[in-house]
Symmetry: C3
Subunit: 261 residues, 3 copies
């Protein structure tokens, strides 16, 4: 298989940063390399947002793909540069927790040694170009993690906020609002299933009560509903319009799920 | 030739949907697959807009390219998933008319059979990832349409609004405003040509009269003009500035073309 | 190595222009072609902005890469279409200065001959699709520049504004504001170094005095600083926030660099 390197950044594409990153990968990577844009539109400096994005996106890619993630507010500080191997996935980027939602205890984390991972002089502001891309190019060419860095046990982990158990259900939160105005929560399908039959579940958010459905088509256009979304989590939606606007809710808003009387 | 799959969606790239789609294609497609972004910035749920985009974009690609189009307000309803073969082009997406501007009577339309097109469990909200991408990966790997679905004669067609014939010309409409503020109409070059010499044609829109020219450079910067654009249709433009702003016109605005006295 | 063609435009991706360009490249280019998006989000018609982007981006790519640049306010006028060869890089686009920041006296510039570079009928508004992409496809397939055009000595050069020497330092300007609000100046690291030790340098902009540092981490989050950025030029920044907003400064704002006391 032709080697794959994916890119996930908060660079945008109006500046030249993303283009420079690709130039380095094609210059230093194997001759049949395929570079794949995942996103360059992540919110600047938002490591938690990026971590959730990475968790969902990386899970769909084939093993051996190298994923470069550069959301790096700490560039130029003492934060470590990392290569991570977890479930036959390879990830390169800063040690700020951006990979940690993929950690399952089996991860092997390496502190990148700039002298072994790149021949470039490190600028103080752009390790994506000067360190992460060269390291990814070497990995895509077949270099083992051990050639680029040293195994470490000291690395950051995010603590994602989990829903709280209540007497008759769960108190969760909106963690993401997507382009369509769907509100994605931190309540999982299995937490919902534990409450019993779908018809018996009541969902409340921002003063409104929503019924749990299987498909958008079960309600009229414009109407609110909730369902288990494509990430296996409870989502609040409005058919063909924005639930975020209809509910005036957003990231951090509370969602209560209860078993009906 | 290395197989090509193109992507056209209204997903944006701030959410992980586009990235997940690509992951599935690279996981399930042939080892030398090339995935090509056409757009992820189509207006959400706007099937007509997407249909015009697809018509123009697809026409430039080589035969055998597989085009995945996911503008799918009806996901989770009874709308069919389709594979279409027309003019040696292959298209995968929902049955909502998004392919229909390419139809010329020779099209062969297949209702996708999820059980044959994908090994994934279908989520209720993301058939792009769970059905269309797996089907496209199979087609890119050489599977025939007949392996993925069943020939059907029941499928949606959009009825694009055509210009109306008037005594001395045509009454058309703006169908698209591009990034530069050019106003693209539904009046074709051949309809214009039927009115005779370019100098004899008069174009009116939003209370202004515009001359038909061959090139932007025939007018001064900032000045209005109209010409036959790159899609073979009449366009209203202002040199190096926005005709949409200068005319306060947009999609749906009327454009009258007449033969001068 | 599989041939590479990069794309840099002001087209956006909501219209079909970028997609059409790619279709032509894949239709007319070699069977293992890789097309790489650098940017489609450059400000419309801003040739200087594009020239700076191209200068930075192209420098990171391997030799033999073909770079298509379409920021072309003069399309349809008498401006020449060009192929440029400089430092083993190949560039295709309009003659408006967009390549000129790469010129070092060794460049070879060819006026493209549409009849030899493309088999397409030239539209009046979209030479990217009808001329530049076909020419790039031929170059990527191994055609020499001489097969597509004629060597010329008449071509545009931008005159980038340079900082002015003052008695005790330099008076420069902000040339770019990036996505994070960093203010990039036209003062180079070597001009700074000539003033002596970093601690002895004083930077003023918009009424504020900033200290020259090596890394963001030397100041507290939210605080202003300046440093030599990844392009080798003086940048004014605020750690993890926007210096442009904090200073109310932008492109064209003056920056004075002096040697302290």
């Amino acid at each position: 298989m032709h080697p794959l390197v994916t890119l996930t950044t908060d660079f945008g594409t109006r500046d030249s940063y993303t283009a420079e990153l690709k130039g380095v990968l094609y210059s230093e990577g194997p001759p049949d390399l395929r570079v794949v844009d995942l996103s360059h539109e992540l919110p600047p400096f938002d490591v938690e947002f990026a971590a959730r994005f990475v968790q969902r996106a990386v899970s769909q890619f084939p093993p051996e793909t190298v994923h470069v993630v550069v959301v790096d507010p700490g560039v130029g500080s003492a934060r470590q540069p990392l290569v991570v191997e977890v479930g036959r996935k390879l990830l390169v980027g800063p040690d700020n927790g951006v990979f940690s939602l993929l950690f399952d205890g089996s991860e092997r984390v390496f502190a990148l040694d700039p002298a072994r991972a790149s021949e470039r002089v490190l600028s103080s502001t752009f390790h994506g170009r000067d360190l992460f891309a060269p390291a990814a190019a070497r990995l895509a060419g077949g270099a083992p993690c051990t050639a680029l860095g040293t195994l470490t046990r000291l690395y950051e982990r995010l603590q994602p906020r989990l829903p709280e158990r209540e007497v008759d259900g769960w108190l969760g939160q909106i963690t993401h609002v997507d382009r369509y105005g769907n509100l994605i929560t931190n309540i999982t399908a299995s937490e919902l299933a534990a409450l019993g039959d779908r018809a018996a579940v009541r969902v409340e958010c921002a003063g409104a009560a929503l019924a749990l459905r299987a498909h958008y088509a079960e309600v009229a256009p414009g109407e609110l509903l909730c369902l288990v979304g494509s990430s296996g989590q409870l989502e609040l939606s409005a058919r063909e319009t924005s639930a975020a606007e209809k509910l005036a809710a957003g990231v951090g808003s509370c969602v209560r799920v209860t078993k009906r009387g």
